[in-house]
């Protein structure tokens, strides 16, 4: 009787164990599934932005129309208008088109097409008076058609391109005059109102400057504060209050730091608005507790025997801490710092408040120039109406995730490297 009861109990225990395992596997599976859906969604939407569609257009570099000759200086060429030869080449696609449709023909290329021809000509001066096939950026509407992002079968009055444009486009496709290329300009261009020209360069550089300022401020301050609090400060009421407040600071919503930046850095110190300098300072405030806390934890985890060993050799307190304790706490501190910085990299809200949400169409050259940052760029583009910005938004998220993965891998690498060395 007793044995049977024991058997039943044992079975129950095993079943409970199996159930628990199952729940665990299920939740991991769910988490991975969601992650996969998210990544798949972003990549399928965003990968298109890394390709651009171009049109191969036969252009006649007519000397008279350009008003140039073989001896023209570079300045003269830059000042010359290439609009007319571009228009001629576009009109040649449908010579019999009525005048009303001519404007639609001009619209099938990007507004930067004239500049592209000029650039091409500057690199190939000998083609004056000759006809040459030049690759020009297609307008973003047809670009979206080419990538299959825009349904062609909806009524003409509800799309951004006409049947006539579509007819010309189809002809060009059948003649292999429409080509897809790697979109380097997405990485080298600054923001633009035209989706086909918009790039992440200004926000990429802005993010870099911002993080750099943030690291420069928060790393030394955070480490010194952590070392002092953990190793030197007397344990009393004051340090207890400081400790509690540092922990609270880590939980303050980031937008509050933005308000602080707006109120203090911009309105009191009159630092330049919309700049990586102020952005980095605001993010440094936010990152400080996120460095202090892991650094203190890492210092606390260093065995006291190491401190005693050094003290017993007659090392002073500072020598003991700097030579023996801090190196051991470095891996934890560094990975904490990098994770704090990667949070700062993805931060949007506080930067909106200090004006980093402005439309910036030049790449900043110093941290004192107005600039955007990657997450704000995502925010800006996600609000734009043009279809071309949908894929740009996702592509910017891909770039952001790419940098986050790099930073976090670096944190893991550092931790493993140091841990292997001393354990």
């Amino acid at each position: 009787m007793n044995n049977i009861k024991k058997e039943a109990l044992l079975k129950k225990r095993y079943n409970a164990e199996k159930r628990f395992k199952l729940y665990g596997i299920l939740s991991i599976f769910l988490a991975i599934a969601f992650l996969f859906i998210l990544i798949f969604n972003i990549f399928s939407k965003g990968s298109g932005a890394f390709l651009k569609t171009e049109i191969l257009l036969n252009i006649n570099f007519d000397q008279k129309k350009l008003g140039l000759n073989n001896n023209s200086s570079e300045k003269e060429i830059r000042e010359a208008s290439f609009d007319e030869i571009l228009k001629d080449a576009l009109l040649a696609l449908a010579p019999s088109a009525p005048e009303l449709k001519q404007a639609e023909l001009v619209d099938i290329v990007s507004i930067d097409a004239e500049l592209e021809i000029k650039k091409f000509f500057l690199n190939n001066r000998d083609i004056l008076n000759k006809s040459y096939e030049v690759s020009l950026t297609l307008s973003d509407d047809l670009d979206q058609v080419y990538k299959g992002n825009f349904p062609r079968d909806i009524p003409e009055d509800r799309r951004r391109f006409s049947d006539f444009q579509l007819k010309i486009y189809d002809e060009l496709v059948s003649k292999n005059k429409i080509v897809s290329k790697l979109n380097w300009s997405f990485l080298t261009n600054a923001d633009s109102r035209e989706p086909e020209l918009a790039g992440v360069a200004s926000s990429l550089v802005g993010s870099f400057f911002t993080l750099f300022v943030c690291l420069l401020l928060s790393f030394p301050l955070g480490i010194l504060a952590a070392i002092y609090l953990e190793e030197f400060a007397p344990k009393n009421k004051i340090t207890e209050i400081i400790e509690v407040n540092v922990n609270n600071l880590a939980a303050v919503p980031s937008i509050v730091f933005g308000l602080l930046g707006l109120g203090v850095f911009l309105n009191y110190f009159y630092l330049p608005r919309s700049t990586p300098l102020v952005g980095g300072m605001v993010l440094a405030l936010m990152t400080l507790p996120r460095i202090i806390i892991p650094c203190r934890a890492a210092l606390k985890a260093v065995p006291p025997s190491i401190r005693e060993g050094a003290l017993a050799l007659g090392a002073s307190k500072v020598q003991t801490v700097m030579h023996n304790v801090v190196p051991l706490a470095m891996p934890g501190t560094l990975s904490g710092t990098i994770i704090g910085l990667s949070q700062a990299l993805g931060e949007t809200a506080p930067l909106l408040l200090i004006g980093m949400v402005a439309f910036i169409n030049v790449v900043p050259s110093t941290p004192l120039d107005p600039s955007a940052v990657l997450p704000v760029q995502v925010y800006l583009w996600s609000e734009s109406a043009e279809r071309g910005f949908v894929e740009k938004t996702s592509a910017t998220i891909i770039i952001l995730i790419f940098f986050l993965i790099i930073m976090n891998s670096f944190a893991i690498y550092l931790r493993n490297k140091f841990e292997k060395k001393w354990s």
């Binding site: 065995p303 401190r307 005693e308 050094a310 017993a312 050799l313 007659g314 090392a315």
Partner: protein, 255 residues
């Protein structure tokens, strides 16, 4: 024991951890170039006592040390005495081997470096080699001085810590249960080493092993509940102790 020179003497030494008194009126003389063993049950204050001798108790905020501790006749238990200078003269080896997170070489070189004992790299190399030789570790590690100290076995690590302690040429070495984390073979090596080291250094060793105290020491003190119950020649303590409690402890009746 009367014709030996006294190296350290404590008079009316009282130690408090907050409100709790850990040591009561300890009067003890440690002889130069002799091994003094301190025995007693756990929590009796032996470790607290030797941590007073190099002022390691300063590290503990709530610890208060009262009384006189004289090294070569001069008082060290005073605020204005530089603890770093004392610790340079009185080294310490701990219960658990605690090599620094540095190479074997740098573990030994650390002390001489911070005290500026070596003017040149050659002198430093010599100090490292001599210290490792004195601690009988040289032959085992001479080919891998650049490997981390933590890569050694427990017994080797403890000898490394002894080498580290003698690298700055102290006068006294305090050992706080140096063999409690080691296997019998490693223990035997450390005991041999202590025998060798007493030619040059005054050694105080706290131990839980009665046989170890009997083997390595010349003088033994028996602590119980924070009081020094008996202090005498080791032979006398183990063969014919004056105190009944000492007798009971060494014969294993309590502790």
């Amino acid at each position: 024991m009367n014709n030996d020179k006294i190296k350290i003497s404590t008079r009316n030494l009282n130690v408090y951890y907050g409100a709790k008194q850990a040591l009561f009126n300890i009067n003890l003389d440690l002889m130069e170039k002799k091994v003094t063993a301190l025995i007693g049950p756990s929590g009796c204050g032996k470790s607290t006592f030797i941590r007073c001798l190099n002022r390691m108790n300063d590290v503990i905020d709530i610890c208060k040390v009262d009384g006189s501790i004289k090294v070569d006749g001069s008082e060290i238990n005073e605020k204005n005495v530089d603890v770093n200078k004392i610790r340079e003269r009185i080294g310490m080896v701990f219960q658990k081997p605690n090599p620094f997170p540095k190479s074997i070489y740098d573990n030994i070189a650390y002390g001489p470096r911070i005290h500026g004992l070596a003017e040149s790299q050659n002198v430093l190399d010599e100090i490292v080699e001599n210290s490792l030789k004195k601690s009988a570790l040289w032959e085992e590690v001479k080919d891998r001085l650049n490997q981390p100290g933590t890569s050694l076995s427990g017994g080797q690590q403890q000898r490394l810590c002894i080498a580290r302690a003698i690298s700055i040429n102290p006068e006294v070495i305090l050992m706080d249960e140096p063999c409690s984390a080691l296997d019998p073979i490693a223990t035997a090596k450390i005991e041999e080493l202590i025998d060798e080291l007493k030619k040059s250094y005054t050694i105080v060793i706290v131990t839980h092993s009665m046989s170890q105290a009997a083997r390595v020491s010349q003088n033994t003190g028996f602590f119980h509940l924070g009081k020094l119950m008996e202090f005498n020649l080791t032979e006398k303590i183990f063969k014919n102790p004056d105190n009944k409690m000492t007798q009971d402890y060494i014969t294993g009746r309590f502790g």
